[in-house]
């Protein structure tokens, strides 16, 4: 995975974020390559979600430069054709499904926005996405309020994948799921990543998820970022990283 000739999908240079007077990111650099799964970890308040929000253009950084597919990710007032928004999908923490629409309608929102598919084809594609993320057929007609937490995440993932993006952002995909569901979700992400050749940017706390799915890990610690594989990071002298990977939970997850 050290192949530096690979195409850079996300490029962050000198990112500075300040929230409520506190500096959260101090000149961060990050490259994410096509086809890899990168996991973002860090303590609470270390700025994992802020980093994700900055990359998808929801948060304007104080300083620095971000490119996704070589473009500025800030939302445009008028959407140009083939914008970056069409090429990525985002799964928010609680799914962020549109509550007034059924699951099927939620999944069809990106299709309706970006393609001119016939309603029949959209229904077929929706059904396919549902089975891809492992939701039963009858989930299609349900409203988000009728779904369990795990099903909301799966539905959110189906919406994120609806228009076949090349890059997927996952914000704590397994938080709040039971270990079995979390494990299934990990497998799902890994399978989809392989079969769709996705680039996955995942914010997570779950060491099992990190071990099972990621190629590289970026640790946010002391306002800086440290990137490497699990084995490389375990050798890092930083006390937080040591505690994270060598604490009881860390050892248990990595030993398996």
């Amino acid at each position: 995975m050290a192949n530096k000739d690979r195409e850079v999908v996300i490029k962050v240079r000198g990112l500075v974020n300040i929230m409520g007077g506190n500096m959260i990111h101090d000149h961060i650099d990050l490259d994410v390559y096509r086809g890899e799964v990168i996991g973002i970890v860090g303590g609470s308040g270390a700025g994992k979600s802020v980093l994700l929000h900055s990359i998808v253009g929801l948060n304007k950084p104080r300083e620095g430069h971000i490119e996704v597919f070589g473009e500025d990710p800030t939302p445009h007032r008028e959407r140009p054709k083939n914008s970056v928004q069409m090429r990525w999908g985002v799964l928010f923490q609680e799914g962020a499904l549109f509550s007034s629409q059924t699951v099927a309608e939620n999944i069809q929102v990106p299709l309706r926005e970006y393609t001119s598919m016939s309603q029949e084809l959209m229904n077929e594609v929706t059904s396919m996405k549902l089975s891809m993320v492992g939701l039963p057929e009858d989930a299609a007609r349900k409203y988000p309020s009728e779904l369990s937490g795990g099903m909301k995440k799966r539905a959110g993932l189906a919406r994120a994948l609806a228009a076949d993006p090349e890059l997927v952002f996952l914000d704590e995909p397994t938080a709040g799921l039971d270990p079995i569901s979390a494990n299934q979700f990990d497998m799902l992400v890994k399978d989809l990543q392989k079969s769709l050749n996705l680039t996955v940017f995942m914010v997570t706390h779950d060491l099992d998820t990190l071990k099972a799915t990621t190629d590289r890990i970026a640790v946010l610690v002391n306002k800086k970022i440290k990137i490497g594989t699990i084995d490389e990071l375990r050798k890092d002298p930083d006390p937080w990283i040591q505690e994270y990977f060598s604490g009881v939970r860390g050892r248990a997850a990595l030993a398996s």
């Binding site: 195409e7 096509r34 086809g35 509550s99 007034s100 059924t102 099927a104 309608e105 299709l111 970006y114 393609t115 001119s116 598919m117 016939s118 309603q119 029949e120 084809l121 229904n123 077929e124 594609v125 929706t126 059904s127 396919m128 996405k129 549902l130 089975s131 891809m132 057929e137 299609a140 007609r141 409203y143 988000p144 309020s145 994948l161 228009a163 076949d164 090349e166 399978d191 989809l192 392989k194 079969s195 769709l196 050749n197």
Partner: protein, 386 residues
Amino acid sequence: MTDAHDSARTGSRAQLRVERQGRVARLIATGEWTVRDAPRMDSELQGVNLGGASEAVIDGSGITRLDSAGTWLLVRTKRDLEAAGARVTQFLLPDVYGPLLHTIEMEHSAPPVVMEKRHGLNAFLYRLGKATVETGRQGYRMLGYLGRFTIELMEAIFQPRGNLRVAALFTQIEEIGINALPIVGLLAFLIGIVLAYQGADQLRRFGAEIFTINLLGVGVLRELGGLVTAIIIAGRSGSAFTAQIGTMKVNEEISALQTIGINTFDVLVLPRVMGLIIALPFLTFYADIMAMIGGAVMCYFDLGITVPAFMRQLHEAVEMKTFLVGMIKAPIFAATIGLVGCFEGLQVERNAASVGALTTRAVVESVFLVIVIDAAFSILFSILGI
């Protein structure tokens, strides 16, 4: 990775060709089969004609880029051909897309989703029936709620220990009553001005300007003071009740209270409704005075009636009865607004949209009920000859 993935943005658009070789028809797909070209290829594949061939080969080896929508179109074509009796002997795709094909062909067999129809007669009848049943249920729940409220209120009055939350009650009185003084006062003052101005304009034609004060006194004290105050408070506090209790419900705070063993009615509903019943008569009284002041100011500047003259005429025009008829309605308006606000708050479901919908409903219902009750009082008083 491989060439196929890397030629991502350079490849051509999706193409489909049918070649006939004896009994075998070859469907040759080339180019980028992605979601972008899916609508076009969808219709082309639907109209594909094998010309009577009994065997088919789907040859996608020339595809430069493929995503799940494209794969689905090819898989669907294969299934359609097989269903029509043709044998699909080969299904060729570049190796890199093996996992994708596997995911879709092996794991997906469900029929397309059925979308609920949002328009048309059936959907209309469905909505109508649903609304009817829902209204019935709402009425039933409201009755239960009213009974519960009566019991809890009696308990709080006759056994205040442990049932009456005094601190919460005073907080509510402050929030509903004292904090509403500026807005209620300003609006009542302006209504006094408008009423006096319009009244003076009309009555001047008969040379009866002085009766402006009678119009103002009777109109405000008997009807407008109470009505306007109740409507402002329905918008200000009734909506707040629904939003507060509703948000607590979304947040599972109400469930938390119940598991701790706290009577949610005592904590949430009683202080609000009782606070409103106590505060609204005072607010109405205050609004009456502010409207009189507004009227007096207008009378002075428009008609040149001095304040002592205004007071004398007002004293003649209104009796104690007029004032009391206005005041007696205030606690009843208050109970209505408070009960509706809290009831709708408790109806909130665990989603964000429901808070907004029910808050709107609470305000509309309480304003509606206030006006209906006011009309009922007018009829009652006229029958009783008050």
